[in-house]
Each structure stands twice: as C-alpha cells, then as structure tokens.
Amino acid sequence: MDSLTNYLLVSSILFSLGLYGVVTRRNGVAVLMSIELILNAANINFLAFARFGGMNMTGHIFALFVIVLAAAEAAVALAIIINIFNNFDTINIDDVSELKQ
C-alpha cells in the first residue's frame, strides 16, 4: 500500500483544497494558509518523486528550499496583513478594495 500514486493523490487533494481555500476564504490569514497548502502539496510531490524515482537528493533539497521560501513569504505577507489591519481595521480582504474604479 506504499506506492507513488497514493502520495500523488494526497498531494493533489491538498492542492485542490488549497485552491478552493484561496478562492473562497475571506480571511487574509486563511488565504495565506491555503497557499501554504498548495506549496506543501508541491513539496509532497517532490519528495515522493525523489523517493520513488530512485533519484538523488535533489527533490529533498528542493523541498527544503521551498519550506524556507514559504516561511519568508509568509513573514512578508503577515507583515502586510498587519499593516492592512492598522489601516482598515480588518483583515477581511473583501473590505480592502479602494482601488475599484
């Protein structure tokens, strides 16, 4: 019961959940989390491929980098969201739409 497809299945489910969350969630933080889901779906892929493809460590390294970058990205995003909160008193991104013409 330990085959590539299962992992791929999991990752694709994660991916879709992520997509869904991004599209439907209103809460900025929640949206970020959904994005994290997508990233991690990718990570699972990398690892799974690396593991089953019988390859060198490239996949793992890739995954590590992704984690790091995701962290950085999240940091920035959260900073921005805090800033938003200071200006709009909300982190509900529906309400953040000054720019509609």
């Binding site: 991916f15 949206v31 990718a42 892929n45 493809g53 390294i61 920035v76 921005i80 013409q101």
Partner: protein, 496 residues
C-alpha cells in the same frame, strides 16, 4: 563548473550583494531626512556591477554546477535591468509620494530586487528559477506596499502578495510534476528527458506546462494572469509601477525564452535560426492565443481608463502581448525582436511614467484632466510626453515603431500560419492609438493655451527626460548600435 571556480565569474552578483549590504548598514547612520543618500551607494554599486559585466569577458558556460548560465544573452538582460533600476532610483528622488517616508530600505530593496532579477535571467535550473522568482516577488511586495500610510498602497501589496504567492504556488506544483516526469531540475537534462518521454505522459506534461505558465504569465502579466496588474500598478508608488512594468517583465521574458527554448524546445536554439517544440506539446499555439488575448484585452480595457497611470498599466499588459507574439515563432529573429522591443520599451515606458510622476508632483493628479493644456503650459514636458505616447503607439520615427517593426517582421517571416497574429497585432496598435493620442489631445487640444511657459525647475528632471526622450527618438531612425549589441548578445548557453 564547481562552486568555487564559479565565484570567479559571479562578480556582478557579488558586487550587487555587497553593495546592498553596505547600503543597509549605511542606512543606519543617516538621519531620516537624508536617508535618500543611501541611493548614492546603490547607484555606485550598480555602476560597478555594470562595469564588471562589461569586462566580464565573453565566457559562455554554466556556474554552480549547472544552475546558472553566464552568456551574452543574460548579460544583455542584466544591462537592461541595471539601466532601469538606475533610472528608477533617479526618478525616485523627486517623487512626491516618497517624501514623507524613510527611503533607505526602499533603495536597498531595489538593489536586492535587481539581484533577484539577475538570477532570473540566468537561471537554468528550476530550483534556481524558483528561488529567483521568489526573491523578486517578495521584494516587489515590499515595494508595492511601501507607502505604509496610503491604503491603496497597502491594498496593492496585499493583492500582490496573495496573488504572487498563489501563482508561484501553482507554478511550483507544475515544476514538481515536471520534476517527477524528468527526474531532474536541470534544464538540459529535462530537455533530453522530455524528448524521450512517451506519449502516455503527455497529459501530465501539458498539465505541468500550463501550471508553469501561470507563474510566468503572472510575472509578465499575461492574460488571464494579469488581473493583479492594474490594482497593483495603481496602488504602488508610481516609481515602482514604472519599475514593475519594465524590469520584471524583461526578466520574465528572458526566463520564458530560456525555458521554452531549452526545456520545451530542442536545444539547438541559437545554432539554427529556428527550432521545434518537443514532444508535440502545442505550447506555441497556446502562447500565440494568449498573446492575442493579452494585447486585445490590455488595449480594450485601457481605452476606458480615467487615470493615465492606470491606462499605462493596462497598456503595459498590451505591450507584453506584443512581445509574446514573437515567442511561439521559435525563431532566432523572434527572440531578437523581443530583445529589441524590450530595449525600446524601456525608454519610452519609463519616460511616460516619469512624466506622470512629474505631473503628479506639479498638478497633483494623474487623471487625463490633470494633463489639460499641459502642452501649452510646459512645452518641454508636453513635447516629450507626446513623443513617448507616439512611441508607445508605435509610429515612426520613434523607437516604438522599430520595436513593433521587428516584432511584426519576425511574425511575418515565420510564415503564413502566424499572419493572423500579425493582423491582430496591427489592429491592436491602431486601437492603442486611440487612448495614447487621448493624452496628447488633453495636453494640446482641450486645455486652453496659457501665455506663461514653465520649464521644469530641477535640472535632474530635464536631464532624465532628455536621457529617456533622446533614445526614444533617435532609435526611431538610427538603431544600428542596438542592432549590433543585440546580435552580439544573441548567444544563449545551450548546455554544451
């Protein structure tokens, strides 16, 4: 080439990094009001970098174990990036928006962004590619939201960050699939792997390509991944808008070219003048359609904008579309024309944005009405703005025409299967005339003539405008230098 030896050829990036570090440290010692002095450090660093690129010798190879390529192609784009960065920094000096902020980091971040762009244009490993994209994105999130007190700016950055993260996520997923299919992250190994892929996996490959396309499309703001562009462009400081509309686009195209030519095409790119799509992936047609869509949407929506800045934002989408026309041709002259267009585009677009910045600074607005009578009030500014508008429309004798000319030439040369694309292109440039000339109309036809004549007080403004206007005009009828430069730079490292 091993990592240590690689460093010897990594000077530009190294210099850039050191500069930025120095700048950050220096920033600590400046008082708030003269924190803009940081810019000089950066500028100096950029100058050094440029210098090091030019003396860098014409070695064509890959560094850091085949993750980064150094070749004239990347150097070309690096020069463009340096140029635009420098210009934008200079522009920032008299941007009204930035007045009441501490701008030290602003300049440092620009420096870092340039570094990221460098990596983007020379990455030949999807890992490096991803890292580069992320660096650039994160820095641009900062910059877009730099005006902390300005809600629009915040919103822009929020949208930018979420959309950026989202699309890079999707791209990453695509990359992962690609990795799975090929078992490697290196472009050239991927190429060979894809070439030997069976047709059973072609759907997966397609999925991967499309997902990756999302990331690329987001970077060059191609339809349908362009939705963030108007808001972000309008929200961020105009200087940054200018920067975003030029530098990342250039880098994005460099990236696209490399990827499609070397991963999805048979690598013989620059040895023969045309090449083929691997494994029957229909991505050329895909890109062609996207190109048509991009320029059409960009133009159509630009027509009805009320703010010049926003109009320019949409029109920059259209310009991306023009350049995309040349991608699916998979021909040397296609790439050539893109490089040509980018060069011309850099001057005219930065110029247009700079005039907007200037007008914002004087009359305080960026809507069409704020331009009324400008041509009579400030003949110089009005004149150069007219020039930029004409150039963006693509009328001779301006740089814009030459850019378009090369693009269309490439398309026509590719043979009759892409003529329809050329038609869409030319019709779009007719449409674009309508809204570009609208600015001119407001500057000369609508506003009543003022008897008093103003010329910009600051020498810097005049100098910058001239620096942008003169090439815009001169390259319109004498572009041999550019031609030669590009044809020298048209050498892409192809794994050998």
């Amino acid at each position: 080439m091993s990592n240590l030896n690689s460093l010897a050829h990594f000077w530009p990036e190294l210099i850039l990094t050191v500069t930025v570090l120095i700048a950050i440290i220096a920033d600590l010692f400046y008082r708030r009001e003269d924190s803009y002095k940081v810019a000089w450090w950066i500028l100096g660093g950029l100058a050094l970098t440029l210098f090091s690129i030019r003396i860098g010798g014409s070695l064509i190879s890959s560094l850091f174990m085949g993750t980064i390529a150094i070749d004239p192609f990347s150097e070309f784009f690096k020069v463009l990036i340096l140029l635009s960065t420098t210009l934008v920094i200079l522009m920032s000096f008299n941007s009204k928006e930035l007045k009441d902020y501490r701008v030290g980091e602003y300049f440092s971040i620009l420096g870092i962004m340039a570094f990221g762009l460098f990596l983007m244009v020379s990455a030949i490993d999807i890992l490096m590619l991803y890292i580069a994209i992320e660096i650039v994105s994160i820095m641009s999130f900062f910059l877009a939201g730099y005006l902390k007190k300005k809600p629009e700016s915040n919103e822009a950055s929020l949208k930018y960050v979420i959309y950026g993260a989202f699309s890079s996520g999707i791209m990453l997923y695509g990359l992962s699939i690609l990795f799975g299919l090929t078992g490697t992250t290196k472009f050239f190994e991927m190429q060979t792997a894809i070439a030997s892929l069976g047709s059973d996996s072609s759907l997966a490959l397609l999925l991967a390509v499309v997902f990756i396309l999302v990331g690329f499309g987001y970077k060059i703001s191609a339809v349908p991944f362009h939705f963030w562009t108007p808001d972000v462009y309008e929200g961020s400081p105009t200087t940054i808008t200018a920067y975003l509309s030029v530098a990342p686009k250039a880098a994005g195209f460099a990236m696209l070219i490399r990827f499609f030519n070397q991963v999805l095409g048979d690598g013989s790119a620059m040895t023969s003048s045309t090449w083929l799509a691997l494994n029957g992936i229909p991505w050329p047609q895909l890109i062609a359609v996207l190109a048509a869509a991009t320029m059409t949407v960009g133009n159509l929506v630009a027509i009805q904008q009320k703010s010049v800045k926003r109009m320019l934002a949409y029109s920059s989408i259209a310009h991306a579309g023009y350049m995309m026309m040349a991608l699916p041709l998979m021909s040397e002259s296609g790439i050539y024309s893109i490089m040509m267009y980018l060069t011309m585009y850099l001057f005219m677009n930065l110029g247009a944005f700079y005039v907007v910045i200037y007008v914002e600074g004087t009359s305080g607005g960026e809507s069409f009405e704020d331009f009324n009578g400008l041509g009579w009030k400030m003949p110089f500014v009005g004149g150069v703005m007219t020039l930029f508008m004409v150039a963006l429309t693509g009328l001779p004798p301006t740089a814009g025409f030459i850019g378009k000319f090369y693009i269309f030439a490439a398309v026509i040369e590719a043979g009759s299967q892409y003529y329809w694309l050329a038609f869409v292109g030319v019709l779009n440039s007719v449409i674009s005339l309508y809204y570009y000339i609208r600015v001119v109309k407001h500057m000369y036809l609508i506003g009543e003539r003022s008897e008093t004549v103003e010329i910009p007080s600051s020498k810097l403004v005049i100098a910058l405008l001239l620096f942008l206007a003169i090439p815009t005009f001169v390259f319109g009828w004498y572009f041999s230098p550019v031609v030669n430069w590009i044809s020298e730079s048209l050498v892409i490292f192809n794994g050998m």
